[in-house]
């Protein structure tokens, strides 16, 4: 917890995990980032705020994940300037975050890629929506601007452009492959097609309502986002969540993890041509979702986690039904795992496909499931457990190899661990209320919420405004870190293996487009 190596004293930051905030100037910003990296930090998120209405300044924040705590660097360029020193030199993942920050707020890093990231055609060249003085008028359609992809030249090299509209019903993303024959030399991805302006929409929302919007940042991680938002708000207001509510939230989070892993394992089988796997896992996922609907009133648990606790309590028959389902799932998944692992065809497709090396995952600050499948430890539930995980003591699930097979294995192991946690939660469900009231929040306070969703750590940075309103809310998905890594994992593989590799990562589109 010692941050002596940083140039300024650290302040405690309201959060559900150990978090400290350090305010620095431009020179100290780069210096601190370097020191943090030397102490094993990875860059978690980068965001900015327009505070010119309060003190005439812009602010840029960078959140770093240290082994046992989170450190947020805050820097406000002097004289209302909007430039800040780039972090890409030490943290490659900062590149897209800095581009997105420019597109939203017009805050520009001193070096780095200047191509637009979120700013697609139809978005005015100098309109920055998160600035306080941004015109509320509808943006006028703009003429299309070319987006220069990095070109690969050579004998027989050609490009395959895929998306954003795909042959199946999936989310929009553009993939530009440079290939020789079937071999991929380079992949460049482009996103932003699902940009919804969530950060802008947050401004002025009631604090007690914001969880509903947070829950919709990325639908498959709705519990994680809603919990992260609630954790940030509860930390700012010093609300103590009843133990029963905390346990129920963890139950919902683990069920979200189960549902997504079951869906992914089925899809992985299907992408390898084994439709049998898809049907089996889809049926298990559907049973889980139906029980969700029966017990929680919501298949995907939208809006079930809310500030102060959870929306509904569960009774004894529901607990029994959930326990029975856990035993059923454990047995069925073990059976299907044996089929996957003994199927020569499936294993031939999975093994050594899309390898992400441990060194690369570490160097690029991979997060969550993708990192753990490459042998890089990191799980908020284990490293900085918040209630109720500090009592549950989840086991760290790791896999070695970093290929599609490792990511499939990790999901199987994750399911076993999640089921164990669910069972432990259900068997020792504390009595008491499942909802506490949340007092009014002081204005202009910053709070963090970090939750280990099924993809990895999900972060919400919430700043309050007077009258119980949201001033600024920044949501961060671990896919920001992991999307660039897919571009490395595909190199040297063949084009028809990309869908399988992509599915094994299964990263968010909506979550990063914001």
């Amino acid at each position: 917890m010692n941050l002596d190596y940083l140039p300024q004293a650290a302040l405690q930051l309201p959060a559900n995990v150990p978090a400290q905030q350090v305010v620095v100037n431009a020179a100290q910003w780069s210096h601190s980032a370097l020191r943090l990296r030397d102490h094993g930090a990875v860059l978690l998120s980068l965001w900015g705020a327009d505070d010119r209405d309060r003190d005439g300044r812009f602010r840029v924040y960078a959140a770093f994940l240290l082994p046992q705590q989170v450190v947020v660097l805050e820097h406000s360029p002097t004289g209302g300037a909007a430039g800040y020193p780039s972090l890409t030199h030490w943290f490659p993942v900062a590149d897209r975050l800095q581009r997105a920050l420019y597109d939203l707020l017009g805050m520009e890093a001193d070096i780095g890629d200047t191509r637009p990231w979120l700013r697609h055609d139809g978005w005015p060249e100098h309109g920055f929506p998160l600035r306080r003085d941004a015109a509320a008028a509808e943006p006028q359609p703009q003429p299309g601007r070319p987006y220069p992809f990095v070109a690969v030249t050579g004998d027989g090299v050609h490009e395959i452009a895929v998306g954003p509209v795909h042959a199946g019903t999936i989310e929009p993303g553009h993939f530009r492959f440079s290939v020789v024959g079937e071999k991929v030399l380079r992949l460049e991805t482009r996103f932003g097609y699902a940009h919804k302006g969530i950060a802008k929409r947050f401004e002025g929302q009631l604090l007690h309502d914001g969880h509903r919007l947070a829950a919709r940042v990325s639908g498959d991680s709705t519990v994680a986002y809603a919990w992260a938002y609630c954790a940030a708000l509860e930390s700012i207001t010093a609300t103590v969540v009843p133990p029963r509510a905390a346990a129920l939230r963890a139950l919902a989070l683990e069920r979200e993890r189960l549902a997504n892993h079951l869906g992914d394992l089925g899809a992985l089988g299907n992408d390898a041509g084994l439709a049998f796997g898809l049907v089996q896992f889809s049926s298990l996922k559907e049973q889980l979702l139906r029980l969700n609907r029966q017990v929680f009133g919501q298949r995907y648990l939208f809006d079930w986690v809310l500030p102060g606790g959870v929306a509904t309590d569960i009774d004894a028959p529901a607990v029994r039904a959930l326990l029975d389902e856990a035993s059923m799932l454990e047995q069925r998944v073990a059976g299907l795992r044996a089929i996957y692992e003994n199927h020569a065809g499936v294993q031939d497709r999975f093994r050594d496909t899309g390898v992400l090396s441990t060194a690369l995952a570490k160097a690029h600050g991979a997060l969550g499931l993708v990192a753990r499948a490459a042998g890089v430890a990191g799980d908020l539930r284990v490293d900085m457990p918040w209630p109720p995980y500090e009592q549950l003591r989840p086991r760290l699930v790791l896999a070695a190899g970093g290929d599609v097979a490792a990511r499939a294995r990790l999901r199987f192991d994750d399911i076993v661990e999640s089921l164990r946690l669910c069972r432990a939660l259900l068997e020792t469900l504390p009595p008491g209320p499942s909802l506490a009231s949340v007092p009014a929040a002081a204005p202009y306070r910053l709070g963090l919420g970090l939750v280990e969703g099924w993809r990895g750590p999900v972060m919400i940075a919430l700043e309050t405004a007077p009258d119980d309103r949201v001033r600024r809310c920044h949501a961060h998905d671990p896919s920001w870190q992991n999307w660039p890594l897919i571009e490395y994992a595909i190199i040297g593989n063949i084009v028809p293996d990309f869908p399988l590799i992509n599915k094994s990562f299964n990263l968010a589109y909506s979550g990063i487009d914001g």
Binding site: A167, G269, A275, F276, D348, R349, P496, P499
Partner: protein
């Protein structure tokens, strides 16, 4: 004169039955995967839907793109005309032998591949080049299978081969044909875009072979191409029956009763073959693209083995 009536009827029968066979395979696949199956006549519904739609053409599409579906479909109909699926009394089959049949399939392949490249999309050319890779490996294997059968039966015309087998007083088992039979099934899977070489039900554009080539087609053009691919599967199944399981096919000059029996026999054989195909597809995963050549080399080797067994052992 009746021969010509049978010739035309057999073509019409193939055209009418091919979607049914595809529907049956689809139904078996669904059952084996624990899904509720679409109706048996689902392919006919697909055809009706597609024929009722307005065709959309890419702006850069040339006459070749518009012509290809008709060429491919007619090629498959002509192929059906020279395969003795129900009767050997086929005037056309006397003109074109089994080597011409391989040529017909190659013609269809060339047209569909050219059409796929015609509009200039990445997927079209990707599918076309993969199709050509599979094709140039599958064709020699298919020819080897046919050569094994020619040597065993002493003819290159399919009806004569069938008659040769059926004229014999008792069943003769040829080990060489067993090798050829396994090789033939492997070629059938590769040539008809089935698992483990291609996945007919995928929506992942980057993994497609056959589907990638027809991505730009719609409405009646797509209907004809789908129909042609079902006909191709039907034709392949009937070639297999003619070579390896000819019992039930009506011989030259058979009466109406025997012909009815022949139709019943081909339906029964198709039912079993369709179920077996579905079972095999359900159990296998899709091969990595560059394993497909190994798969087809294996088919080629098996066919050569069949040939050697015949030449060396005389069996």
């Amino acid at each position: 004169m009746t021969a010509y009536v049978w010739q035309v009827s057999e073509c019409l029968l193939a055209i009418a039955l091919a979607p049914l066979f595809a529907g049956w395979v689809g139904q078996c696949r669904a059952w084996l995967q624990n899904r509720s199956a679409p109706p048996l006549w689902q392919p006919y519904l697909v055809l009706r839907k597609l024929f009722h739609k307005d065709a959309a053409l890419a702006t850069d599409a040339s006459w070749l793109f518009r012509l290809a579906p008709y060429v491919v479909f007619s090629t498959m109909v002509v192929a059906a005309a020279i395969i003795p699926s129900v009767t050997t009394d086929l005037p056309l089959a006397r003109v074109a032998d089994a080597i011409a049949l391989v040529g017909l399939f190659a013609t269809a392949r060339v047209f569909i591949s050219l059409a796929a490249m015609d509009v200039g999309t990445a997927f079209g050319s990707m599918g076309a080049r993969r199709e050509m890779m599979i094709g140039f490996l599958a064709e020699p294997a298919l020819l080897m299978v046919l050569f094994s059968a020619f040597m065993t039966h002493g003819s290159t015309a399919l009806p004569e081969m069938v008659e040769g087998v059926l004229d014999q007083p008792h069943i003769v088992l040829h080990p060489s044909l067993f090798f050829a039979g396994v090789a033939f099934v492997m070629v059938l899977l590769a040539e008809n875009a089935r698992l483990p070489v291609d996945n007919p039900s995928t929506h992942l554009e980057l993994t497609m072979i056959h589907e990638a080539m027809i991505l730009e087609y719609s409405a009646r053009h797509l209907a004809l191409l789908e129909w042609a691919s079902w006909l191709k599967l039907f034709n392949y199944a009937c070639i297999g029956f003619a070579l390896f399981l000819p019992w039930g096919i009506a011989l030259h000059g058979a009466g109406v009763g025997l012909l009815a029996l022949a139709i019943a026999a081909v339906l029964a054989k198709l039912a079993v073959a369709g179920a077996a195909l579905a079972l095999f597809e359900t159990l296998s995963a899709k091969l990595r693209l560059f394993r497909a050549p190994e798969f087809l080399t294996m088919a080629f080797l098996l066919a050569v083995l069949g040939l050697l067994v015949y030449l060396l052992l005389g069996a």
